[in-house]
Symmetry: C2
Subunit: 258 residues, 2 copies
Amino acid sequence: MTPQEITTWMHHLCTLAERETLPRFRTKTQIDNKLDQGFDPVTEADKAAETVIRNAIMQQFPDHGILGEEHGTHNENAEYCWIIDPIDGTKAFISGLPVWGTLIGLYKDGTPLAGIMHQPFTEERYFCDGTASYLKHAGGEKKLATSGENTVSQAILMSTFPYFEDKVQARFDALRNACKLTRYGTDCYAYCMLASGSIDLVAEYGLATYDIAALIPIIEKAGGIITNWEGGSAAQGGSVLACANKELHIAALEKLNA
Amino acid sequence: MTPQEITTWMHHLCTLAERETLPRFRTKTQIDNKLDQGFDPVTEADKAAETVIRNAIMQQFPDHGILGEEHGTHNENAEYCWIIDPIDGTKAFISGLPVWGTLIGLYKDGTPLAGIMHQPFTEERYFCDGTASYLKHAGGEKKLATSGENTVSQAILMSTFPYFEDKVQARFDALRNACKLTRYGTDCYAYCMLASGSIDLVAEYGLATYDIAALIPIIEKAGGIITNWEGGSAAQGGSVLACANKELHIAALEKLNA
């Protein structure tokens, strides 16, 4: 697939998803709980958006694979595999906050190639076509670039949750306490703030593949580094550390593994 | 002042402020730190926005008082006093997140009468004209009403920070652990999500008058209850507990004071 073809299709799929998500945002849409213990919500909007994305991919690219949060895997060993989180940040979605997004990633032979984060309420699309990363919004389109901040003590950190299991908490707190500022509750939006240079670090734990797949190329092609907390690949989720640049990545890994 | 006059002026003042805040959002605007220990940022945008709001009030209403976060008090014992936080959520602002807002409240004889929260990036204006509360945005205008949720275990809670001093932490955690879901990093946006029925509770500690003044009438005229953690007035800041309705307020106060 060419960068042009990828871009056209990512935007088209997001537009289809928007018709299912945005009309249900801030309404009394049906919310189900995926967990017996705890609260992991899924809404009609999540399910319907993933369905329209999958149907469009299967019709246009019958040989491609699909991995989606709500409706599982299909032909996942194909050369091209689409990885879908129809609403990343469902907790933000049901709370009325405009920091959720539709994530669509494209892996080629298991490696992240391209991806998009679409926030339809703010009309922002952060995406990578495989060669460079862009923000398209009501004001136009611009190329994304991460910040030059290379000192942890001057860095702004984001994480969706402040609380982790004990061993993880100590590692996260070592990084958090070294940073200038930490913000929570940010989901996919955090990685887009990193790619656009507004913040410098994102650290999260226990992510699924579909939480991070679309965001990896956006960050890498904006100049950032994204790995797990040991410095290995983040392409299958797990722990994730995203940094504005190489120097900051080395320094942040040291804090997490002191 | 009539509700019509109040509404016209609140919107006008927000439009003046927007010209100072929005062009500096997600740019490399000057950031200063107000603290010797810790990080409490103030930007050019905060200072410039408060200046234009103050100048407009002083010219139109020379007898009125003003209390502002950045530029202090003026004639504060007047019958009408305007209370200004030019950017509530400066940490969100410098992190690129669209959950900050310009807060302008109007007290009459020391009592909250009217207020507005304006988020110029999302083009949302949550406001109370002294009689009812509204959301005005790109899609039109609607009357605000809080949720009917009256059980803490089913409630969604918001708070800007997850961490407090020890004694306060135990009280906050007792409430948080009883709720269905807690979201952080929300500043003034949390109170607007409460007024519009998306969430059910907000609990914060250590607020200043200008952090809460504009939001009190918005919540009260949307059907909510807002007090401090002892059930007294929140009009001077301090601890703040905002609830969707009376029943939930009684139940939440019990958790905070168990």
